[in-house]
């Protein structure tokens, strides 16, 4: 059981890190701000989700695991709101391509 857990969380965290790096590559490569914004938020919300998933078994107790999930949900809420507002800002400040 323990081996399976270690493999599972290792895989999840590696995938999470991969998504973060993908998000950053997107930020570096994509031409216009809107597509960058889209890729960035998707990548780091999902990346964080996978990392939290990977950390759940080692969180030590149910309450700590719930707190990790709460952190992730807050980041999702925060990311969604901030992204929409930044998109609004981009739309308003630059003419559509």
């Amino acid at each position: 059981m323990n081996l399976f857990l270690t493999l599972f969380s290792g895989a999840a965290i590696t995938a999470g890190v991969a998504f973060f790096i993908a998000g950053t590559v997107a930020l570096l490569r994509f031409p216009d701000p809107l597509s960058r914004l889209h890729a960035l938020t998707k990548a780091d919300s999902l990346g964080l989700g996978l990392i939290v998933l990977g950390l759940l078994p080692w969180a030590g107790g149910w309450l700590a695991a719930l707190k990790l999930i709460l952190v992730w949900l807050l980041v999702l809420l925060a990311g969604a709101t901030a992204t929409q507002m930044i998109a609004e800002h981009i739309r308003r400040s630059e003419p559509p391509p």
Partner: protein, 311 residues
Amino acid sequence: MSLVLDVMLALAVIGVAGWTLLVRGNFPAVIGFVAYGLLLALVWVRLGAVDVALTEAALGAGATGVLLLFAVVRLRGGKAEIDAATPSPPQRVAAAILCGVVGLGLAVAMLNLPDPAPSLAAEATRHLPLLGVGNPITGVLMAYRGLDTLLEAVVLVFAVLAIWSMAPDRRWGAIPGPLFPVQSSGPLSLLARVLPPIGIVVGIHIAWVGADAPGGKFQGGTILAAMGILAWVAGLWRLPPVASRGLRWAVVAGPLVFIGVGLLGFVIADGFLSYPPGFAKPLILLIEAAMTLSVAAAIVLMVAGPPERPA
């Protein structure tokens, strides 16, 4: 591996700080400064000082960012005078050399500090069970150096008064800060409706948990203040006028309770700000609760600024 992480973190902090200084335009500088605050919070976690990391994260992201952004928006213009006052290149080089020497001296001093590191950790933790408090930093803040924390609570009240005194006479007693239109729909109103309840619970949790784990009144108060500012910025909460009784009581509640319990020390313990042996924790928690309220109120008022609009 942790060494590599520390070096990266250190270079990042210095890089962002340098960038904040050299970038054209106030707006990017403030964004750089908030990033600097975030990185400092990470540095504090690496240094093992989680309480300080909490304070830096809460203050940096929550209150200081908004405060600086308000200033940036209102300080637009004034370009001509700034160029006139920019020091000439030789002056800048001289200043750079001077600051380099100061930095070097500090670095050298930091690298060979006295070998048996003088530390008060032992004394601090030895008396903790007497106080019934688990977190040594709360023990220091509330008991060993209680007077410092009391004076600091009073400093916050004075800061609010000093900011209010900047208002023109005809605006005295008015509502502080600009008017924010009510956001009927859109992401901001969603956030301002969903986040504050969670934030208030988290803020009170962190203020409460401060007795035995990292946390405390300053961190909890700052989070509550940030939630108040969010609701105010989204137009959901109208700041009360400066003259309102409730607001003034909220700001002075913390220091008053602190002084009250301190004076109580004469009667039930052996002096000002000393706690009776078995009864320390309830008193400390009472002070912490009142202080959390006052810190939150003071920070909101400091961000809002002097009274501007008639009631």
